[in-house]
Assembly symmetry: C2
Homo-oligomer: 257 residues x 2
Protein backbone atom coordinates (compact mmCIF):
# COMPACT_ATOMS: atom_id res chain seq x y z
CA UNK A 1 0.00 0.00 0.00
CA UNK A 2 0.97 3.62 -0.45
CA UNK A 3 1.14 5.41 2.87
CA UNK A 4 1.45 9.01 4.03
CA UNK A 5 3.01 8.87 7.48
CA UNK A 6 2.42 11.85 9.73
CA UNK A 7 4.72 12.12 12.73
CA UNK A 8 8.42 11.90 13.49
CA UNK A 9 8.40 10.87 17.14
CA UNK A 10 9.39 7.59 18.79
CA UNK A 11 6.48 5.64 17.34
CA UNK A 12 7.01 6.93 13.77
CA UNK A 13 10.68 5.92 14.03
CA UNK A 14 9.57 2.34 14.63
CA UNK A 15 6.38 2.21 12.57
CA UNK A 16 7.98 3.70 9.45
CA UNK A 17 10.68 1.04 9.04
CA UNK A 18 8.15 -1.70 9.94
CA UNK A 19 5.86 -0.49 7.14
CA UNK A 20 8.76 -0.53 4.67
CA UNK A 21 9.84 -3.99 5.78
CA UNK A 22 6.28 -5.23 5.26
CA UNK A 23 6.51 -4.12 1.62
CA UNK A 24 4.57 -0.85 1.78
CA UNK A 25 5.69 2.44 0.27
CA UNK A 26 5.92 5.61 2.31
CA UNK A 27 4.98 8.17 -0.31
CA UNK A 28 5.44 11.08 2.09
CA UNK A 29 6.53 11.78 5.63
CA UNK A 30 5.11 14.80 7.42
CA UNK A 31 6.55 16.07 10.67
CA UNK A 32 6.81 19.12 12.81
CA UNK A 33 10.43 19.12 13.80
CA UNK A 34 12.70 19.72 10.84
CA UNK A 35 15.61 17.68 12.18
CA UNK A 36 13.77 14.53 13.24
CA UNK A 37 11.63 14.53 10.12
CA UNK A 38 14.65 14.81 7.82
CA UNK A 39 16.41 12.04 9.76
CA UNK A 40 13.46 9.67 9.55
CA UNK A 41 12.81 10.51 5.88
CA UNK A 42 16.39 9.59 5.12
CA UNK A 43 15.93 6.29 6.95
CA UNK A 44 12.72 5.64 5.03
CA UNK A 45 14.13 6.94 1.76
CA UNK A 46 11.02 9.03 1.12
CA UNK A 47 10.09 12.66 0.46
CA UNK A 48 9.16 14.71 3.48
CA UNK A 49 7.49 17.93 4.38
CA UNK A 50 7.16 19.95 7.52
CA UNK A 51 4.36 21.99 6.00
CA UNK A 52 0.95 20.40 5.81
CA UNK A 53 -0.12 22.40 2.73
CA UNK A 54 1.66 19.81 0.63
CA UNK A 55 0.02 16.62 1.82
CA UNK A 56 0.22 13.98 -0.91
CA UNK A 57 -3.21 12.82 -2.08
CA UNK A 58 -1.92 9.93 -4.19
CA UNK A 59 -1.98 7.42 -1.33
CA UNK A 60 -4.04 4.53 0.08
CA UNK A 61 -3.67 5.31 3.76
CA UNK A 62 -2.86 8.24 6.03
CA UNK A 63 -1.38 7.28 9.39
CA UNK A 64 -1.31 10.04 11.99
CA UNK A 65 1.31 8.91 14.52
CA UNK A 66 1.61 12.03 16.63
CA UNK A 67 0.87 12.94 20.25
CA UNK A 68 -2.79 12.83 21.31
CA UNK A 69 -3.34 16.57 21.40
CA UNK A 70 -2.00 17.08 17.85
CA UNK A 71 -4.11 14.43 16.10
CA UNK A 72 -7.14 16.61 15.47
CA UNK A 73 -5.18 19.49 13.96
CA UNK A 74 -3.43 17.14 11.50
CA UNK A 75 -6.73 15.47 10.62
CA UNK A 76 -8.14 18.88 9.71
CA UNK A 77 -5.27 19.52 7.32
CA UNK A 78 -5.66 16.32 5.31
CA UNK A 79 -7.64 17.14 2.13
CA UNK A 80 -11.11 15.55 2.42
CA UNK A 81 -10.84 12.15 0.71
CA UNK A 82 -12.17 8.61 0.65
CA UNK A 83 -8.97 6.85 1.71
CA UNK A 84 -8.29 5.18 5.05
CA UNK A 85 -7.21 7.64 7.75
CA UNK A 86 -5.79 6.19 10.97
CA UNK A 87 -4.44 7.42 14.25
CA UNK A 88 -2.34 5.44 16.71
CA UNK A 89 -3.55 6.71 20.08
CA UNK A 90 -4.65 4.63 23.06
CA UNK A 91 -7.14 7.21 24.24
CA UNK A 92 -8.34 9.55 21.49
CA UNK A 93 -11.73 8.84 19.92
CA UNK A 94 -11.47 7.57 16.33
CA UNK A 95 -14.17 9.97 15.15
CA UNK A 96 -11.84 12.99 15.31
CA UNK A 97 -10.70 11.66 11.92
CA UNK A 98 -14.17 11.92 10.37
CA UNK A 99 -13.31 15.37 9.06
CA UNK A 100 -10.73 13.80 6.69
CA UNK A 101 -12.59 10.70 5.48
CA UNK A 102 -15.57 8.56 6.37
CA UNK A 103 -13.22 5.57 6.29
CA UNK A 104 -11.21 6.02 9.42
CA UNK A 105 -9.88 3.95 12.26
CA UNK A 106 -7.30 3.29 14.93
CA UNK A 107 -4.14 1.22 15.00
CA UNK A 108 -2.87 1.42 18.58
CA UNK A 109 0.37 -0.48 19.28
CA UNK A 110 0.62 -1.63 22.91
CA UNK A 111 4.32 -1.04 23.40
CA UNK A 112 6.75 1.61 24.61
CA UNK A 113 9.01 2.95 21.88
CA UNK A 114 12.33 4.72 22.29
CA UNK A 115 14.36 5.85 19.31
CA UNK A 116 17.45 3.99 20.47
CA UNK A 117 15.82 0.59 21.19
CA UNK A 118 15.03 -2.13 18.67
CA UNK A 119 11.54 -3.60 18.83
CA UNK A 120 10.37 -6.58 16.81
CA UNK A 121 7.26 -4.98 15.40
CA UNK A 122 5.64 -8.31 14.54
CA UNK A 123 5.39 -9.10 18.29
CA UNK A 124 3.66 -5.83 19.14
CA UNK A 125 -0.06 -6.24 19.95
CA UNK A 126 -2.11 -3.93 17.72
CA UNK A 127 -5.54 -2.71 18.86
CA UNK A 128 -7.76 -1.94 15.91
CA UNK A 129 -10.99 -0.05 15.31
CA UNK A 130 -12.63 0.93 12.02
CA UNK A 131 -15.57 3.12 11.04
CA UNK A 132 -16.82 1.27 7.95
CA UNK A 133 -16.51 -2.13 6.35
CA UNK A 134 -14.17 -0.72 3.74
CA UNK A 135 -12.00 0.80 6.48
CA UNK A 136 -12.09 -2.47 8.37
CA UNK A 137 -10.99 -4.51 5.35
CA UNK A 138 -8.13 -2.18 4.51
CA UNK A 139 -7.02 -1.94 8.12
CA UNK A 140 -7.07 -5.71 8.49
CA UNK A 141 -4.90 -6.08 5.40
CA UNK A 142 -2.47 -3.42 6.54
CA UNK A 143 -2.12 -4.53 10.16
CA UNK A 144 -1.71 -8.21 9.34
CA UNK A 145 1.45 -7.32 7.42
CA UNK A 146 2.84 -5.61 10.52
CA UNK A 147 2.09 -7.91 13.46
CA UNK A 148 0.85 -11.36 14.37
CA UNK A 149 -1.12 -9.96 17.28
CA UNK A 150 -4.26 -8.26 16.08
CA UNK A 151 -7.07 -7.26 18.45
CA UNK A 152 -10.33 -5.69 17.26
CA UNK A 153 -11.61 -3.84 20.29
CA UNK A 154 -14.07 -1.05 21.05
CA UNK A 155 -13.21 2.51 21.96
CA UNK A 156 -14.11 1.76 25.59
CA UNK A 157 -11.88 -1.30 25.67
CA UNK A 158 -9.00 0.67 24.18
CA UNK A 159 -9.22 3.16 27.07
CA UNK A 160 -8.88 0.23 29.46
CA UNK A 161 -5.89 -1.21 27.60
CA UNK A 162 -4.23 2.19 27.75
CA UNK A 163 -4.93 2.53 31.47
CA UNK A 164 -3.61 -1.00 32.13
CA UNK A 165 -0.52 -0.11 30.09
CA UNK A 166 0.05 2.95 32.28
CA UNK A 167 -0.01 0.71 35.38
CA UNK A 168 2.29 -1.88 33.78
CA UNK A 169 4.78 0.44 32.18
CA UNK A 170 4.79 4.02 33.51
CA UNK A 171 3.90 3.12 37.08
CA UNK A 172 6.24 0.14 37.42
CA UNK A 173 8.99 2.27 35.89
CA UNK A 174 8.27 4.87 38.54
CA UNK A 175 8.67 2.24 41.25
CA UNK A 176 12.12 1.55 39.77
CA UNK A 177 12.83 5.30 40.01
CA UNK A 178 11.87 5.23 43.70
CA UNK A 179 13.99 2.12 44.27
CA UNK A 180 16.97 3.83 42.66
CA UNK A 181 16.50 6.90 44.84
CA UNK A 182 16.35 4.77 47.99
CA UNK A 183 19.55 2.98 47.00
CA UNK A 184 21.42 6.12 46.01
CA UNK A 185 20.55 7.83 49.27
CA UNK A 186 22.32 4.93 51.03
CA UNK A 187 25.29 4.98 48.62
CA UNK A 188 24.14 1.81 46.89
CA UNK A 189 24.16 1.03 43.21
CA UNK A 190 20.99 0.48 41.13
CA UNK A 191 22.83 -2.38 39.41
CA UNK A 192 21.96 -4.45 42.46
CA UNK A 193 18.32 -4.47 41.33
CA UNK A 194 18.67 -4.94 37.58
CA UNK A 195 18.70 -8.77 37.58
CA UNK A 196 15.69 -8.78 39.94
CA UNK A 197 13.73 -6.46 37.66
CA UNK A 198 14.59 -8.52 34.59
CA UNK A 199 13.44 -11.71 36.35
CA UNK A 200 10.22 -10.08 37.63
CA UNK A 201 9.20 -9.34 34.04
CA UNK A 202 10.50 -12.65 32.69
CA UNK A 203 8.50 -14.65 35.26
CA UNK A 204 5.15 -13.36 34.06
CA UNK A 205 5.82 -13.97 30.38
CA UNK A 206 4.54 -17.50 30.98
CA UNK A 207 2.73 -17.08 34.30
CA UNK A 208 -0.07 -14.94 35.61
CA UNK A 209 1.24 -12.19 37.94
CA UNK A 210 -1.09 -13.10 40.81
CA UNK A 211 0.52 -16.52 41.20
CA UNK A 212 4.04 -15.03 41.12
CA UNK A 213 3.63 -12.65 44.05
CA UNK A 214 6.06 -12.97 46.98
CA UNK A 215 7.29 -10.64 49.72
CA UNK A 216 6.24 -9.34 53.12
CA UNK A 217 2.74 -8.17 52.15
CA UNK A 218 1.97 -11.45 50.41
CA UNK A 219 3.15 -13.33 53.53
CA UNK A 220 1.27 -10.93 55.82
CA UNK A 221 4.62 -10.28 57.54
CA UNK A 222 3.68 -7.20 59.56
CA UNK A 223 7.05 -7.06 61.34
CA UNK A 224 8.92 -6.44 58.07
CA UNK A 225 6.21 -4.09 56.81
CA UNK A 226 6.57 -1.99 59.97
CA UNK A 227 10.36 -1.92 59.58
CA UNK A 228 9.90 -0.65 56.01
CA UNK A 229 7.45 2.03 57.09
CA UNK A 230 9.92 3.16 59.74
CA UNK A 231 12.67 3.37 57.10
CA UNK A 232 10.43 5.62 54.98
CA UNK A 233 9.25 7.85 57.80
CA UNK A 234 11.00 10.93 56.37
CA UNK A 235 9.41 10.62 52.97
CA UNK A 236 5.68 11.10 53.21
CA UNK A 237 4.89 10.54 49.54
CA UNK A 238 6.89 7.32 49.14
CA UNK A 239 5.41 6.08 52.44
CA UNK A 240 1.97 6.69 51.03
CA UNK A 241 2.80 4.67 47.89
CA UNK A 242 4.24 1.90 50.07
CA UNK A 243 1.14 1.81 52.22
CA UNK A 244 -1.53 1.84 49.53
CA UNK A 245 0.12 -0.91 47.47
CA UNK A 246 0.87 -3.01 50.57
CA UNK A 247 -2.75 -2.66 51.69
CA UNK A 248 -3.98 -3.77 48.27
CA UNK A 249 -1.70 -6.83 48.29
CA UNK A 250 -2.93 -7.70 51.81
CA UNK A 251 -6.51 -7.38 50.59
CA UNK A 252 -5.75 -9.66 47.65
CA UNK A 253 -4.59 -12.35 50.07
CA UNK A 254 -8.16 -12.72 51.28
CA UNK A 255 -10.22 -14.78 48.84
CA UNK A 256 -12.22 -12.42 46.62
CA UNK A 257 -15.99 -12.79 46.66
Amino acid sequence: MKIVLIGSGNLAFHLGPALLKAGHTIVQLIGRSDRNTAKLAKKLDCPYSIQTEYINVNTDVYIIAVSDNAIKSFAKQIPKNDKLVLHTSGTVNANVLEIASKHYGVIYPVQTFSTDRKIKFNTVPLCLEASTEIASRKLKKLSSTLSDKIHWISHEQRQVVHLAAVFSNNFSNHLFVIAEELLNKSKLDFNMLRPLIAETAAKIQQNTPGTMQTGPAKRGDSETINKHIALLKNNKQISKIYEVITQDILDHNAPRL
Copy 2:
Protein backbone atom coordinates in the same frame (compact mmCIF):
# COMPACT_ATOMS: atom_id res chain seq x y z
CA MET B 1 33.98 -26.36 51.43
CA LYS B 2 31.72 -28.66 53.40
CA ILE B 3 28.32 -27.12 53.90
CA VAL B 4 25.26 -27.91 56.00
CA LEU B 5 22.32 -26.33 54.18
CA ILE B 6 19.25 -25.58 56.26
CA GLY B 7 16.07 -24.93 54.30
CA SER B 8 14.12 -26.50 51.48
CA GLY B 9 12.23 -23.51 50.09
CA ASN B 10 12.63 -21.65 46.80
CA LEU B 11 16.01 -20.19 47.70
CA ALA B 12 17.47 -23.50 48.91
CA PHE B 13 16.35 -25.11 45.63
CA HIS B 14 18.54 -22.62 43.75
CA LEU B 15 21.37 -22.14 46.24
CA GLY B 16 21.95 -25.87 46.79
CA PRO B 17 22.67 -26.69 43.13
CA ALA B 18 24.75 -23.49 42.79
CA LEU B 19 26.92 -24.59 45.73
CA LEU B 20 27.42 -28.02 44.17
CA LYS B 21 28.24 -26.53 40.80
CA ALA B 22 30.85 -24.30 42.47
CA GLY B 23 32.58 -27.43 43.78
CA HIS B 24 31.34 -27.45 47.37
CA THR B 25 29.94 -30.47 49.18
CA ILE B 26 26.57 -30.42 50.87
CA VAL B 27 27.23 -32.72 53.82
CA GLN B 28 23.67 -32.44 55.09
CA LEU B 29 20.37 -30.86 54.15
CA ILE B 30 17.95 -29.96 56.92
CA GLY B 31 14.36 -29.02 56.21
CA ARG B 32 10.96 -28.87 57.78
CA SER B 33 8.74 -30.32 55.10
CA ASP B 34 9.48 -33.97 54.51
CA ARG B 35 8.55 -33.95 50.83
CA ASN B 36 10.47 -30.88 49.70
CA THR B 37 13.52 -31.80 51.74
CA ALA B 38 13.65 -35.32 50.28
CA LYS B 39 13.22 -33.91 46.78
CA LEU B 40 16.01 -31.38 47.18
CA ALA B 41 18.30 -33.92 48.90
CA LYS B 42 17.88 -36.20 45.93
CA LYS B 43 18.77 -33.35 43.60
CA LEU B 44 21.84 -32.53 45.71
CA ASP B 45 22.69 -36.18 46.25
CA CYS B 46 23.21 -35.63 49.99
CA PRO B 47 21.89 -36.96 53.30
CA TYR B 48 19.00 -35.08 54.81
CA SER B 49 17.17 -34.73 58.06
CA ILE B 50 13.94 -33.14 59.10
CA GLN B 51 14.95 -33.33 62.74
CA THR B 52 17.48 -30.82 64.00
CA GLU B 53 18.85 -33.17 66.72
CA TYR B 54 21.06 -34.68 64.08
CA ILE B 55 22.85 -31.62 62.75
CA ASN B 56 26.19 -32.61 61.27
CA VAL B 57 29.13 -30.96 63.04
CA ASN B 58 31.76 -32.06 60.52
CA THR B 59 31.31 -29.03 58.26
CA ASP B 60 32.91 -25.68 57.38
CA VAL B 61 29.78 -23.61 56.99
CA TYR B 62 26.15 -23.64 58.05
CA ILE B 63 23.79 -21.77 55.74
CA ILE B 64 20.34 -21.06 57.13
CA ALA B 65 18.19 -20.38 54.07
CA VAL B 66 14.74 -20.30 55.67
CA SER B 67 12.03 -17.68 56.12
CA ASP B 68 12.91 -14.73 58.38
CA ASN B 69 10.86 -15.80 61.36
CA ALA B 70 12.42 -19.30 61.48
CA ILE B 71 16.11 -18.24 61.40
CA LYS B 72 16.49 -17.76 65.13
CA SER B 73 15.01 -21.10 66.07
CA PHE B 74 17.35 -22.96 63.69
CA ALA B 75 20.34 -20.95 64.95
CA LYS B 76 19.52 -22.11 68.48
CA GLN B 77 19.58 -25.74 67.41
CA ILE B 78 23.02 -25.66 65.79
CA PRO B 79 25.54 -27.06 68.32
CA LYS B 80 27.74 -24.18 69.54
CA ASN B 81 30.83 -24.20 67.30
CA ASP B 82 33.53 -22.06 65.73
CA LYS B 83 32.52 -22.52 62.09
CA LEU B 84 30.93 -19.93 59.82
CA VAL B 85 27.16 -19.60 60.30
CA LEU B 86 25.21 -17.63 57.71
CA HIS B 87 21.68 -16.59 57.03
CA THR B 88 20.26 -15.32 53.74
CA SER B 89 17.71 -12.73 54.83
CA GLY B 90 17.37 -9.17 53.57
CA THR B 91 16.08 -7.88 56.87
CA VAL B 92 17.08 -10.03 59.87
CA ASN B 93 20.01 -8.83 61.98
CA ALA B 94 23.10 -11.02 61.59
CA ASN B 95 23.62 -11.19 65.34
CA VAL B 96 20.74 -13.63 65.84
CA LEU B 97 23.37 -16.19 64.75
CA GLU B 98 25.75 -15.32 67.61
CA ILE B 99 24.22 -18.11 69.67
CA ALA B 100 25.69 -20.70 67.26
CA SER B 101 29.16 -19.24 66.58
CA LYS B 102 31.06 -16.00 66.96
CA HIS B 103 31.91 -16.28 63.25
CA TYR B 104 28.66 -15.44 61.60
CA GLY B 105 27.38 -13.41 58.70
CA VAL B 106 24.86 -12.81 55.97
CA ILE B 107 24.72 -13.81 52.32
CA TYR B 108 21.60 -12.11 50.92
CA PRO B 109 20.90 -12.78 47.25
CA VAL B 110 18.98 -9.94 45.58
CA GLN B 111 16.74 -12.02 43.36
CA THR B 112 13.32 -13.64 43.33
CA PHE B 113 13.45 -17.43 43.23
CA SER B 114 10.70 -19.80 42.10
CA THR B 115 11.24 -23.54 42.04
CA ASP B 116 10.25 -23.82 38.39
CA ARG B 117 12.46 -21.02 37.03
CA LYS B 118 16.12 -21.23 36.11
CA ILE B 119 18.36 -18.49 37.45
CA LYS B 120 22.02 -18.04 36.54
CA PHE B 121 23.34 -17.82 40.08
CA ASN B 122 26.59 -16.16 39.01
CA THR B 123 24.58 -13.08 37.92
CA VAL B 124 22.78 -12.75 41.27
CA PRO B 125 24.04 -9.81 43.37
CA LEU B 126 25.06 -11.07 46.82
CA CYS B 127 24.99 -8.72 49.81
CA LEU B 128 27.50 -9.79 52.44
CA GLU B 129 28.13 -9.03 56.09
CA ALA B 130 30.49 -10.76 58.54
CA SER B 131 31.11 -10.57 62.29
CA THR B 132 34.86 -11.29 62.41
CA GLU B 133 37.84 -11.26 60.12
CA ILE B 134 37.81 -15.05 59.98
CA ALA B 135 34.11 -14.99 59.05
CA SER B 136 34.80 -12.32 56.46
CA ARG B 137 37.63 -14.30 54.83
CA LYS B 138 35.60 -17.50 54.66
CA LEU B 139 32.50 -15.71 53.37
CA LYS B 140 34.54 -13.93 50.72
CA LYS B 141 35.96 -17.24 49.55
CA LEU B 142 32.56 -18.93 49.51
CA SER B 143 30.60 -16.15 47.82
CA SER B 144 33.17 -15.51 45.10
CA THR B 145 32.64 -19.09 43.91
CA LEU B 146 28.90 -18.40 43.58
CA SER B 147 28.58 -14.99 41.95
CA ASP B 148 30.52 -12.26 40.20
CA LYS B 149 28.51 -9.59 41.99
CA ILE B 150 29.65 -9.25 45.57
CA HIS B 151 28.62 -6.31 47.78
CA TRP B 152 29.87 -5.84 51.34
CA ILE B 153 27.24 -3.67 52.94
CA SER B 154 26.08 -2.78 56.43
CA HIS B 155 22.98 -4.05 58.19
CA GLU B 156 21.32 -0.67 57.61
CA GLN B 157 22.15 -0.72 53.91
CA ARG B 158 20.79 -4.25 53.59
CA GLN B 159 17.43 -3.06 54.94
CA VAL B 160 17.37 -0.43 52.19
CA VAL B 161 18.26 -2.95 49.48
CA HIS B 162 15.43 -5.16 50.70
CA LEU B 163 12.98 -2.27 50.72
CA ALA B 164 14.07 -1.21 47.22
CA ALA B 165 13.65 -4.82 46.09
CA VAL B 166 10.09 -4.82 47.45
CA PHE B 167 9.31 -1.73 45.35
CA SER B 168 10.97 -3.20 42.24
CA ASN B 169 9.65 -6.71 42.46
CA ASN B 170 6.61 -7.17 44.73
CA PHE B 171 5.06 -3.80 44.02
CA SER B 172 5.62 -3.78 40.27
CA ASN B 173 4.26 -7.32 40.16
CA HIS B 174 1.19 -6.06 41.99
CA LEU B 175 0.73 -3.35 39.36
CA PHE B 176 0.70 -6.18 36.80
CA VAL B 177 -1.99 -7.90 38.89
CA ILE B 178 -4.08 -4.71 38.81
CA ALA B 179 -3.51 -4.35 35.05
CA GLU B 180 -4.68 -7.92 34.52
CA GLU B 181 -7.81 -7.31 36.59
CA LEU B 182 -8.63 -4.18 34.62
CA LEU B 183 -8.23 -6.06 31.33
CA ASN B 184 -10.20 -9.10 32.44
CA LYS B 185 -13.09 -6.97 33.63
CA SER B 186 -13.32 -5.64 30.05
CA LYS B 187 -12.95 -9.12 28.50
CA LEU B 188 -9.40 -8.41 27.38
CA ASP B 189 -6.40 -10.70 27.52
CA PHE B 190 -3.33 -10.06 29.69
CA ASN B 191 -1.22 -11.23 26.74
CA MET B 192 -1.73 -7.75 25.31
CA LEU B 193 0.59 -6.39 28.00
CA ARG B 194 3.29 -9.03 28.15
CA PRO B 195 5.55 -7.54 25.42
CA LEU B 196 5.21 -4.10 27.04
CA ILE B 197 6.21 -5.44 30.45
CA ALA B 198 9.18 -7.30 28.97
CA GLU B 199 10.34 -4.13 27.20
CA THR B 200 9.84 -1.96 30.32
CA ALA B 201 12.31 -4.17 32.21
CA ALA B 202 14.65 -4.57 29.24
CA LYS B 203 14.92 -0.81 28.74
CA ILE B 204 16.38 -0.17 32.16
CA GLN B 205 18.99 -2.90 31.99
CA GLN B 206 21.21 -0.33 30.26
CA ASN B 207 19.45 2.91 31.16
CA THR B 208 18.45 4.63 34.35
CA PRO B 209 14.66 4.41 34.96
CA GLY B 210 14.21 8.16 35.39
CA THR B 211 15.30 8.83 31.81
CA MET B 212 12.99 6.10 30.45
CA GLN B 213 9.73 7.47 31.85
CA THR B 214 6.89 8.21 29.40
CA GLY B 215 3.11 8.48 29.68
CA PRO B 216 0.45 10.99 30.68
CA ALA B 217 1.89 11.92 34.09
CA LYS B 218 5.36 12.46 32.64
CA ARG B 219 3.83 14.68 29.93
CA GLY B 220 1.63 16.45 32.47
CA ASP B 221 -1.35 15.43 30.31
CA SER B 222 -4.17 16.18 32.73
CA GLU B 223 -6.88 15.38 30.19
CA THR B 224 -5.79 11.73 29.95
CA ILE B 225 -5.20 11.53 33.71
CA ASN B 226 -8.75 12.70 34.33
CA LYS B 227 -10.12 10.15 31.86
CA HIS B 228 -8.24 7.43 33.73
CA ILE B 229 -9.53 8.58 37.10
CA ALA B 230 -13.06 8.53 35.70
CA LEU B 231 -12.53 4.95 34.45
CA LEU B 232 -11.47 3.91 37.96
CA LYS B 233 -14.24 5.70 39.80
CA ASN B 234 -15.81 2.46 41.03
CA ASN B 235 -12.62 1.15 42.55
CA LYS B 236 -11.50 3.32 45.41
CA GLN B 237 -8.32 1.43 46.23
CA ILE B 238 -6.98 1.23 42.68
CA SER B 239 -7.89 4.93 42.20
CA LYS B 240 -5.83 5.74 45.27
CA ILE B 241 -2.83 3.83 43.86
CA TYR B 242 -3.28 5.60 40.52
CA GLU B 243 -3.42 8.99 42.20
CA VAL B 244 -0.44 8.67 44.54
CA ILE B 245 1.89 7.33 41.86
CA THR B 246 0.70 9.89 39.29
CA GLN B 247 1.24 12.67 41.83
CA ASP B 248 4.76 11.45 42.53
CA ILE B 249 5.61 11.32 38.81
CA LEU B 250 4.22 14.86 38.39
CA ASP B 251 6.36 15.99 41.31
CA HIS B 252 9.43 14.38 39.73
CA ASN B 253 8.88 16.46 36.59
CA ALA B 254 9.76 19.56 38.56
CA PRO B 255 13.52 19.88 39.02
CA ARG B 256 14.46 18.56 42.47
CA LEU B 257 16.21 20.97 44.81
